[in-house]
């Protein structure tokens, strides 16, 4: 088995040379790593500006990212089989965590999102579920032949909906949707029939008005209303959108220059180093900067999709594809929200926004992708 592994590794890296490359030993995909480092490095520059030249913020973010890269490295060392084996148990653990949050969780601003267990650092089980839900769905669906039967699709959806329901109770609609999205991508990649997909969207579009009247809370409705007409409340809820659009628009073709953004440095732009950091980039580096950023993200997604397509088994493919698309959704929702296309839902810009756990979650996902890409075994055709 070990022999076969080695052989296949050198086959994959055939273009680079006959012997197993250093990357293969480290279980790292150099292309993806290089793209991620470019993104993160550029991100720190933008963050320095977005945090109004506060070097402490940049240092803290640097440390956090370093930790995240270590986590990625650790995850990359694990064989995908390990993830597959552990999936059900992690899923049950995650559900237990979400129930615990609802019972004994702590939090702020009327939402309970954190679990503070004695002897452990505070953590958000919902963040953990962003990784575990697609893993679980991939585990379940890849046990059988694909495309899945209708019953299995439904079972897969239940796997996804259960944690979504628990997270909505916190309440945290944004995370719930992202977790759900990750799981649904697995079902989609598994080969859910197009008829079902059309039917699914039909259900969603019917349930949207029902959500509005029966599920959504006032602050969420407010966000949607503000999105539709930011001018209606220019000093309140519309302020963020108006100011971020002003920041982006005033950047023009080549921007105002690094550290020269007036919108962010004069404190007109709120959250300029967290959720709205892309407005800082757009203001200071202009359309050119945005083109560069979107290209970088696109290359990362392209590489990840390549990893998914070339993965050896269904579990690896489904998981890699779903994680990739989740990453893309982050990018799209954040930039869409800052530029006024989507409601403000509090999604950070992946790997650039300042802040907590999302960086670690994202990098563990990249670790899983690298693991899938670099652990290969002989397959009996």
């Amino acid at each position: 088995m070990a022999m076969g592994n080695k052989l296949l590794g050198s086959q994959v890296n055939a273009g680079l040379g006959r012997t197993r490359s250093i990357w293969s030993i480290l279980h790292i995909d150099p292309i993806l790593l290089a793209l991620l480092l470019a993104l993160v490095g550029g991100g720190l520059f933008v963050l320095y500006s977005g945090a109004d030249r506060n070097i402490e913020v940049v240092k803290a973010q640097g440390i956090r990212l370093a930790v995240a890269f270590v986590v990625m490295f650790v995850f990359a060392q694990l064989d995908p089989a390990v993830f597959r084996r552990w999936s059900p148990w992690l899923y049950i653990l995650g559900l237990a965590g979400l129930v615990a949050v609802l019972l004994v969780g702590v939090g702020a601003k009327g939402a309970q999102r954190w679990l503070a267990l004695p002897g452990l650092p505070r953590f958000q089980p919902s963040e953990f579920m962003k990784l575990v839900v697609p893993m679980m769905a991939a585990w379940y669906l890849s046990r059988y032949y694909l495309p899945p039967t209708f019953g299995r699709v439904m079972a897969g959806l239940i796997i996804v909906l259960l944690p979504m329901f628990l997270i909505v109770q916190q309440p945290d609609l944004g995370t719930s949707l992202l977790v759900g999205m990750a799981g649904i991508f697995v079902v989609f990649f598994a080969g859910m029939s197009w008829k079902l997909i059309v039917a699914f969207f039909g259900v969603v579009s019917v349930s949207a008005p029902l959500m509005w009247f029966f599920v959504m809370r006032d602050y969420q409705k407010q966000r949607v209303l503000t999105l539709l007409d930011p001018q209606s409340d220019p000093l309140g809820a519309g302020w963020n959108i108006i100011q971020s659009k002003t920041a982006i628009g005033s950047g023009g073709m080549d921007g105002k220059g690094w550290l020269q953004g007036t919108q962010s440095h004069l404190e007109f732009l709120p959250e300029s180093h967290t959720d709205f950091i892309v407005a800082v980039l757009a203001e200071e580096f202009g359309f050119v900067g945005m083109l560069l950023l979107l290209t970088l993200y696109f290359l990362i997604i392209l590489r990840c999709l390549y990893i998914a397509v070339t993965a050896q088994d269904s579990f690896g493919r489904l998981l890699a594809g779903a994680l990739t698309m989740t990453f893309f959704i982050y990018v799209f929702v954040n930039i869409g929200m800052v530029s006024g296309l989507l409601p403000v839902v509090g999604v950070p810009l992946p790997l650039i926004s300042y802040g907590g756990t999302s960086g670690v979650t994202l990098m563990s996902a990249f670790g899983v992708l690298m693991s899938i890409h670099t652990h290969r075994r002989m397959i009996t055709a």
Binding site: F189, Q263, L266, R317, F332
Partner: protein, 632 residues
């Protein structure tokens, strides 16, 4: 296999590849969507957002011009601008105002009175986002405290502004007037653009009259502010044009002298330089500290001033309307001579009283025993009432009215003294209109000695005296001497409107001046005691005016009543008699006799102006040259 079912791995791989392709297209479409959105915002609508962004950060602010300074004739500063740090609040930015005030009160001491005033201003109409002062004259400690807690108080700022300060306020309050916060009525009258950054406006006196000159023109600056309105950078600035500095004829030394001479009394002094009409001193005693009014006087302080029986806020020099008494006699003498009702030689018999007809009411002379046979000169020198009863009746009210009008009675003859009253120069028309009664000869009798209906302000008496000193040449009284800078004072002074008072026999002027010299230097002159030992000749006239009544509901103790029922003591005069440098009018309320109380005050002013000040200047010059001599 672990998953127990048959799996077509190749088919699964192809299925996944197709699905991945769909997702790739999905990604490309949405990414392109984002890119198009960016193109729309950053390229297509770039102009709109650039404007929005500039409007966001760049604000036009008005820069108030520094108010012009006021100097006395010797260049001594009488009104200046002092930087004062005040705590202001922009209610729109501060959030819940009660909570903010409570938190502020925990950090710095705020008097209830400040809070009360702040709340009052909060209710008044104002421009949105205009700051309201809460607390003036912050100490260094408080400024430091506010700097530490600044971030906790959005909309609360420590602002430096220039505030008017009168270094000699007790002496100059009545002469200069003062500035104060612009009130609602003034807000309607002023040019809102030019006063955009100005908080103060001249309320009275010179400050009010020359408001336009002193104020200057507003400047602008384009400033970059942050979202909370804090100024970060000045981008462009058009400097304000400062108000013009002005110099007054007023002499602070004489002003001080006047206050010293009236120390402990109530009264007024007006001194005029006859040649220029320049007002050298304009004193009303007691004075008050006008600085208190600038930033807003406290209720208790204001009550203290306004309810004091000495009425310190009352400007006696301009607005005190007194019966002029015998001080009117030189002007009456001019009228009597020129109208031909008497001559220099004519003598009358004064038995101590005057009767309009045999057996009628006796109008008493102040001298019960009478002056016997007496001519005009003697009548002025000894202040014989009967002579003037006689000529007054002979002239009649309309002739007297005509001549006294020419002396500036019954009008505000000044050029730039804000708030001067016109007194009351009665005429038959006036009496019919106001009293609905005909003019009786008895009214003329009283008017002849400056009693009855006749009222004049100290400023009017000084003006009339200066006209005598000028031998009929009119020079309207004025305060403004010069404008610092290129422009001349004449540009700002109103037009002179009076024509010289020319007499049929112009030597009558010299004669009347002679009679006034006799008052001071004659053997029986009423003010001879006051003029004793003078090195120069002076002309003057004393007066004593009766205090008629007190309001019935005013309660004073017996001592007080006796003091306040005493006659007012008056004096008018000028010196030197043949080359007048100074003309004065003095009134000491309830002072008693004009000769004993008011005339020595006049003498004191003459001495100061003609001898003390020049001597001090000479000594200064000498001292300077000595000093120079020793250093070289």
């Amino acid at each position: 296999m672990a998953w127990g079912e048959f799996k077509d791995t190749a088919a699964e791989r192809r299925l996944f590849q197709r699905r991945a392709l769909v997702m790739l297209i999905f990604v490309i479409v949405l990414m392109s969507g984002l890119l198009v959105r960016m193109y729309q915002l950053q390229i297509v609508e770039h102009e709109i957002y650039t404007t929005l962004s500039d409007k966001n950060r760049v604000q036009v602010q008005s820069v108030p011009p520094p108010r012009g300074l006021v100097y006395d004739r010797n260049g001594i500063l009488m009104a200046e601008n002092r930087p004062v740090f005040s705590l202001t609040i922009v209610p729109e930015r501060a959030g819940p105002i009660d909570e903010t005030l409570a938190r502020l009160a925990a950090i710095i001491d705020i008097e209830d009175e400040d809070l009360e005033r702040f709340r009052k201003r909060l209710k008044e109409p104002r421009r949105p986002y205009q700051e309201i002062p809460l607390f003036y004259d912050l100490g260094e400690d408080d400024i430091a405290k506010m700097a530490v807690h600044r971030h906790e108080f959005p909309g609360v700022e420590v602002e430096a502004e220039l505030v008017r300060y009168y270094p000699h306020s007790e002496l100059t309050a009545h002469a200069l007037g003062f500035v104060g916060r612009i009130n609602r009525e003034e807000l309607q009258k002023i040019d809102p653009v030019n006063y955009a950054g100005t908080h103060y406006i001249g309320k009275s006196g010179i400050e009010r009259f020359y408001e336009k000159v002193l104020h200057g023109r507003v400047g602008y600056q384009h400033v970059e502010t942050n979202a909370r309105g804090r100024i970060l950078r000045v981008l462009e600035r058009e400097n304000p044009v400062p108000g013009e500095d002005i110099q007054l004829h007023l002499d602070l030394r004489l002003q001080k002298k006047a206050h010293e001479l009236l120390e402990g009394r109530r009264g007024a002094i007006v001194a005029i330089e006859p040649a220029t009409g320049g007002i050298l001193a304009l004193a009303s005693v007691p004075g008050f500290d006008a600085n208190k009014f600038v930033t807003g006087i406290s209720v208790a302080d204001y009550r203290g001033l306004s309810e004091s029986i000495d009425k310190p806020l009352f400007n006696r020099a301009l607005r005190g309307q007194y019966p002029p008494g015998s001080t009117i006699k030189p002007m009456m003498a001019v009228a009597a001579l020129d109208s031909g009702v008497t001559t220099r030689e004519r003598k009358i018999w004064d038995p101590g009283y005057y009767q309009l007809r045999e057996g009628g009411r006796r109008y008493r002379d102040w001298k019960r025993s009478g002056h016997g046979w007496i001519d005009l000169k003697g009548s002025v020198a000894q202040s014989c009432d009967v002579y003037f009863y006689d000529v007054a009746v002979e002239m009649g009210v309309d002739t007297m009215h005509k001549y006294l009008s020419a002396f500036g009675f019954g009008e505000d003859a000044t050029l730039d003294v804000a708030g001067a009253l016109s007194g009351l120069l009665p005429s038959s028309d006036w009496k019919r209109a106001v009293r609905n009664e005909p003019w009786y000869p008895g009214d003329s009798v009283n008017m002849g000695i400056g009693q009855g209906f006749f009222l004049a302000t100290p400023l009017q008496l000084a003006t009339a005296t200066a006209l005598v000193a000028n031998r009929g040449e009119w020079v309207e009284p004025r305060l403004l001497k010069d404008i610092r800078g290129d422009r001349s004072a004449d540009e700002f002074l109103p037009k002179e409107t009076h024509t010289p008072l020319t007499l049929k026999d112009n030597s009558d002027w010299e004669y009347v001046v002679d009679t006034m010299e006799e008052v001071m230097h004659g053997a029986r002159g009423t003010a001879r005691a006051a003029a004793r030992g003078a090195s120069y000749r002076m002309a003057g006239k004393t007066g004593t005016a009766q205090v008629f009544s007190l309001a019935q509901d005013e309660e004073y103790d017996a001592e007080e009543i006796r003091e306040r029922l005493r006659d007012h003591a008056l004096f008018v005069g000028f010196a030197p008699a043949d080359n007048p440098q100074i003309a004065v009018a003095v009134i000491v309320e309830n002072g008693g006799g004009g000769s004993s109380v008011a005339a020595p005050v006049g003498r004191g002013l003459f001495d100061a102006w003609l001898e003390e000040f020049p001597a001090a200047e000479a000594a200064d010059m000498l001292g300077q040259s000595d000093h120079e001599g020793s250093t070289h």
